[in-house]
Symmetry: none
Subunit: 238 residues, 2 copies
């Protein structure tokens, strides 16, 4: 399954355009993180050209973490490269990868940021990889609906082509990774690792990037918990 | 050169959206056959997000024949197959062909029909081949601007404007990673993490895989050392 996640979308029109684009190209799972104007939204319905009648109701979430909790591999979309070490893909490359992964049972997410600002860095950090649509450097003005359209279009192209599933171990869900990160940060804070409150968010983001990039398996997250317990906990054994 | 030809476009908004899509993806030659509301068109300008400032003024024609007179190879676009014997292509196939032809000096055209009716049969007849965008048979509602967007997007993919490079910071050397792994294993051994000598090599290999897969940067290895020191070392702070 491929889910389209709109994080903090502002205009109902764009939510409707996204739904319409999704339905045009065979995608159905739409997730909304705190849509500015609430949900349901009259303008979204009008702009969708009836797409909502053909798909399940969008799921509404309070945070991006919640919206991607059950997904195994999540792409962030950005208009420009960010100062962040993550794999970057064109839409076609990303959808090829998504198709292979979903063929082996993984849930894939593609996240789009708010219209004005795009995805925030702390949102991108929660994703495994980045999609950037190639555009003319001298004139780049894709809106939210158009971006979803291009990604969904690549999906129908790809899903028409059979490919053998790859042999992969069960990847951790975002929720499992989140739980580990939270525990690590609490332990580090306890040990006074974060010396400057100003820098703490950046440091946490940098650390989180190491682990989201690694595409951890379920088993690996268990191992990391074991490592943390061993390093942190068993002082009495010394 | 690849020209986009809008035959009898009705809404100025769609002309503007087409221009914007073209500029986003590096196309500049826009030709209009009898735009319903005349030219120039205020709504087109507004919808273009400034695209017209970056490209030559659209050329206006009285007939499709005039509009495509200087072109060597012309594609018609249709939402559905017509009862007509012509080569049919997906957007990607068509643009691959267009790219090859224009590389050998040919002028290529891609024609889009009026919003309500699409291209008339007598218009399609004037073209060499047909492009149809694959869509969900149960829900197909691409508008004119979106159709131009998808074609233009295939153009930039094909014409190979450089995709943004990943933002790579200095990667860690294998030696730096090795040093960190050795230190981690010593600390874990010290904490009796490895309970069975038989399984120790396998466990170490699994742990090492997590970190080698992450393609760590120099800075990240330093961060990991800091984490290890914090978790392992400062017992006196507790």
């Amino acid at each position: 399954m491929v889910s389209i996640v709109l994080s903090h979308p502002q205009m109902g029109e764009n939510i409707g355009a996204a739904a319409r684009a999704m339905q045009n190209f065979g995608l159905s799972d739409l997730r909304l993180v705190k849509p500015r104007d609430g949900w349901p939204n009259e303008r979204a319905i009008i702009m969708s050209s009836g797409a909502f009648d053909h798909m399940p109701a969008p799921k509404i979430f309070d945070s991006l973490s919640d919206a991607i909790a059950d997904l195994h591999y999540v792409f962030a979309t950005t208009a420009r490269p960010r100062d962040m070490v993550k794999d970057m893909y064109t839409p076609q490359e990303a959808i090829e990868l998504a198709y292979t992964r979903q063929s082996s049972g993984q849930n894939i997410g593609i996240v789009f940021g708010a219209e004005r600002t795009g995805m925030r860095n702390d949102e991108i950090t929660q994703c495994q990889a980045i999609i950037t649509v190639p555009t003319n450097p001298a004139f780049s003005s894709l809106n939210l609906g158009q971006s979803v359209l291009l990604i969904a279009y690549e999906w129908i192209k790809q899903s028409g082509i059979k490919k053998p599933a790859s042999n992969m171990q069960t990847p951790a869900t975002q929720d499992e990774i989140r739980t580990f990160m939270d525990r690590l940060f609490i332990d580090l804070d306890d040990r006074r690792f974060f010396r400057s409150p100003d820098l703490t968010p950046t440091m946490q983001r940098n650390i989180e990037n190491i682990f989201t990039r690694a595409e951890l398996t379920e088993q690996e997250v268990r191992t990391l918990h074991g490592i943390l317990s061993a390093l942190r906990g068993n002082k009495t054994q010394k």
